[in-house]
Structures are given as C-alpha cells and as structure tokens.
Amino acid sequence: MTMGSCEHLQEYKTTHGTNSFRIIHTYFIACSSADARRRKAKSCVCHTCRLHGPRLHACLNCIYFGCYGAKHIHEHAETKGHHLAVDMVHGAVYCFECGDYMYDEQLEEIARKQYTKSKKGIGLRANFSSWEPNEVEIEILRQNPKRRKVEIKSSIGLRGLINLGNTCFMNCIVQALTHTPVLRDFFLSDQHSCQVLSQDARQCLVCEMSRLFQEFYCGARTPHIPYRLLHLVWTNARHLAGYEQQDAHEFLIAALDVLHRHCKGYSDNILLSYNSQLNAGTSDSNGSGNPHHCNCIIDQIFTGGLQSDVTCQQCNNVSTTIDPIWDISLDLGPGPPAGGSSNSNSSPNSGFTNSPGTYEPTSLLECLKRFTKPEHLGSSAKIKCSTCSSYQESTKQLTMKKLPIVACFHLKRFEHSTGYHKKISTYVSFPEELDMTPFMSSSRNNTNGYNNQVIQESSRGLSCDNKYSLFAVVNHMGTIESGHYTCFIRQLKDQWFKCDDHLINKALPGDVLNSEGYLLFYHKQILEYD
C-alpha cells in the first residue's frame, strides 16, 4: 500500500493530463445536475456483464466500464494494456501494474471539489470529516507524548467536590454538566476562545468551566474545591449569593445563563446551524424579542423550541408561537388526567377543564402527556383572537417543535404558594431510554391529543432520531427547609456513579431509576451534523 502516486499514474498524467479523470468524475461519480444523474443511472453498467457492479471501474484510457467483483475490469486491463481505472463509487484510481489503489494529490483535489458540488446539488451537507490536527496541534501533541485512554475500568472524569457550606446544589449541577457528553467534548477539545478582555478573563465563567473540565479529566483523585466557580457564580448571579441552601434547578438555569452570556461571539462548531434552524422557525412569531438568538455552545446543546398553539373556541383559528427553552418544568401536583379517552366527547375540546382534579402523574411519560395535552383556558383567561378581533375562550397546547441535544426535565417537587411551601416526595418513574416523538409538534393532530399520536408514532417507529438516553439525575433528600442534594451520573455507556459532594460511589442502574428524581438529564442518541 502506498500513500501516494505511482510511476504509471505519473506517466499517464504527463501524456494524457487529468481531463479524462475529471470527466469521468463529473459525469459518473459525483454528478451535480439532474441531467448528469440521469446519464449516470443509464450508463453505469459493466460493459461485459451488464450488471451494476459490484465495484464498477472506468478505464482511464478508453471508454470502458467493468466490474471489479467479476474481474471484468481486470480482463480489460490485461487484453487492452490499459492499466489505470477509476473506482466509480469512491473515485480512487487503481493501477493494475502495481496491483493497488493510488492516491494522487492532484486527482484527489479534483475529486474533493466535485463531491462538494454534487452534494449541494441534492441538498446534502458537506461530508463530515474527522478531526485532522493542524501544524500547531501536531507540535503540541509532540510536546505532550503522554496519552490517556478511557477504558471500562478507568475512573477518569470522576471527582468529588468539596461542600463549601450548603453548596451541594452547585456540586450536583457541576457533576451533571461535566458529564454531559457534547459539553465535555467541547471543553476537552479546547473550543472556547475567550471573548472577554484579557484582564477580565478570570471573570469568565466559560474559562472557569474549561479549567474545571481539566480538573475533572486530569486523572487526579482527590476531591476538587470549586471555590473559584462559587465565587464567579456569586458575582454574576447575585440572587444565589450567600451560604443558604439554594434550589439546584434555579442554579442550573442561572449557570446556563451566565455561561451563555460569557460565550459571546460565535463558536465555529459542527453543530452551528442547529439553532439557526430553530430561529428560522420562530422568525414569524415573536422572534425578534427572543433572547436565545444565539449559537453559543450552551444554546447549541440545551435550547429546544417549545411550540404553543392557541385555538380560538369561536372560530378555530390557531395562533402558533415558538419559544426557546433550556429545560422543561413538569407539574407533579393533582390535576386533570393525562389520558385522552376519558375526555372523548362529541365536541372535541369540551372535556378539558381547568379545575384541579385528583390525578397525580407517577411517571415522566405521564408528566409529558399532561404537559403536551390541550388545555382549556376557561372563561377567566380569555385571549384576544386576531380573527374574531375580540377576547375569546381558547384551548392551548404545548408541543416540542425542536428537540434540544440535552433535554433537562425539572420535576416540580417544590410548591411555593402564598402562605405555604411544600415538597412533593411522590416517586415518579423515568426510563433509561426516552422517545420524544409523541411530544413533538409534528405529532400534534387536530384535537384529540395523545391518543392518536401513539398510532402515528408506531407507524414510524423505526425512526430513532428522537430518542434520548438518561445520563444524569439530581436528587433532593429531606424537606424543603433542610435537605441535601446528591446526584447520579453516567460514565461511559452504562456505568453509574453516585456523587455525594466529595464522595463518589458506584451505583446500579436500578438505584438510579428507583431514586426520587428532581432533575433528569437526557442526551440525544443521534446528532445531526451540519
């Protein structure tokens, strides 16, 4: 195997040039027009056996296509003395004298350009290519010869965090964030280029996160003391300052907000246009006031699009808005049931009322069903209908227009009403694998809510694009006044660990799934590359 060209190919290029290769590549390998594709479809057959392959090659000396599988191209090379042929799938040139493929830089450059053109022609994005280190990076790699390999038994990435006085709420979120796969990849590949002025760089929370990731993945085993992080959060989110116990959910949202603000600028990342798609969808609604018109890594990972459809009861006019969200807060208290069947009625929406029922969800799926169920807003909450030009009763339904890469579910265990604060400690089950398809806007049907969505889901059950895996769970123990936060995090594919401040212990998936979850972190199984 050679990594370059051979004398035969070089000689061919001097006498014949690169034109034949270019023509074959343009018309039969990477077509960029419908016309070329039609021609390709008709003529790409072996001239000897009339089959489509396997591994059709085109002679570089004359007009002959032959398959490699049945050695028809070999026969041609032998009898005609034409020793160079192009693979019609990959565009590599085979030399029959040398008995192997050649990698000629000049020809590869031609091929690369053609491929890009042809992909655009059929609406495909450019090829995803794996990372190639540049000269600077090669030098860094040379200077740092020590390699770390993550193996089944390795404890890399696991590190306890010292409690600095009721800061377990922060420790949990730090554990969850440092074990968010895409976020970890972002920081470990050093993608944050700081936009904060150099003298203020110590004030940048993103930079602090970078350092934190280094602390977590450097291999050290002693607990880390996150005092700088705490200090930064205090100075940037004043409402969280002080040594009282804070709400982990509130901290998560504040941390994401500060990170998003400190990211500024635009990161050049494979996921870049993820959010521009989302934003394109919102531009016709209230998009201009949208705070998340942003491509920062936080928005790329955590921002989903929540669609709200308000249907006027008078004229059935639907007004749709899409709002960016970083998390999904789910009610646990008693309310109307989530199931559709008990509500079936001749008038589709009349079954839904606003009055609290006795139903309490006991699983994440039930919470989500309730979350995405059409809700009758009642006579006390009339909304101005643009078609009727008057205030009308209406129905509102929430669905997911765009799924985030990381879906964070917040089970509202803390109730703060006037006069009383209370914690709901009911067990709410949640799955290790979650399919969000039924809760997507695309699954929304006229009025019947979830029931029909299930049917739709099963008919396209093969799609796994909307599937998520659980990777972190934050738990709260105790009461609303005095409690303690711990969390479970997933390492590698299915190894779970319980983090209790400075203590880290192995856990079983069963421990995780049976715990009283407060924040549930799910990671998308399949990412779209842009």
Binding site: M1, K40, D100, I122, L462
Partner: protein, 103 residues
C-alpha cells in the same frame, strides 16, 4: 407460478430499474450519506478502523493492498452492521419506492 428462470430475469430487471431510479433522483447518494452517518454513530466505523489498523500492522504497510484489506474485513464489516441500521435503510428505500409512481 412463473418458472424460476423467468422470475430470476424479472428480479434482475426490477433491480436494475430500482437502481436507476435511486441514482437518477440522487436518493442513492442520500441513502449512502445516511448509512455513513449511522455507521459512524453506532461505532461501526471506529470498530472497523481499529480492525483495519490491526491487519495493516500485522502484515506490514508495505506488503498489504486494498484488496487484501477488503477481503480481510468484509465478513466482519457485514456482520457488525446493526439490525436497526439495516431496518432504517430498508424502510427508507420502501418509502422511496412507494413515492415513485412509475415503477
């Protein structure tokens, strides 16, 4: 029942027509792209790459050809493609064919 010879011929014709349609519309490239993505995602690519490296190391870079490599890894490569991926591709092809009225 049609005789097997006849059926074989019809099968081959059908295959050729389908292939032609897939190429003409660009769907073949899209399917390839989908397959490529899925194989990267499920770890197939990394697994096969590691295997290739082993084979190359064993035989020595100077002495191995692409053909040797193809022969060595094809059985493993085929066997390692997850059923989910095959199913998805099949479903996509079915959907595509259903949309083509003139086949």
């Amino acid at each position: 029942m049609a005789d097997p010879q006849d059926r074989k011929l019809k099968d081959a014709q059908m295959r050729a027509t389908i292939n032609q349609k897939l190429v003409e519309t660009g769907e073949r490239e899209r399917l390839k792209e989908l397959l490529r993505t899925r194989l990267i995602e499920c770890g197939w690519r990394d697994q096969l790459k590691a295997h290739c490296k082993e084979v190359v190391k064993e035989k020595g870079l100077e002495h191995i050809t692409v053909d040797d490599l193809v022969q060595e890894i094809t059985p493993k490569g085929r066997a390692l493609v997850p059923d989910d991926v095959k199913k998805e591709l099949l479903q996509r092809i079915r959907t595509f064919l259903a949309e083509q009225s003139n086949i």
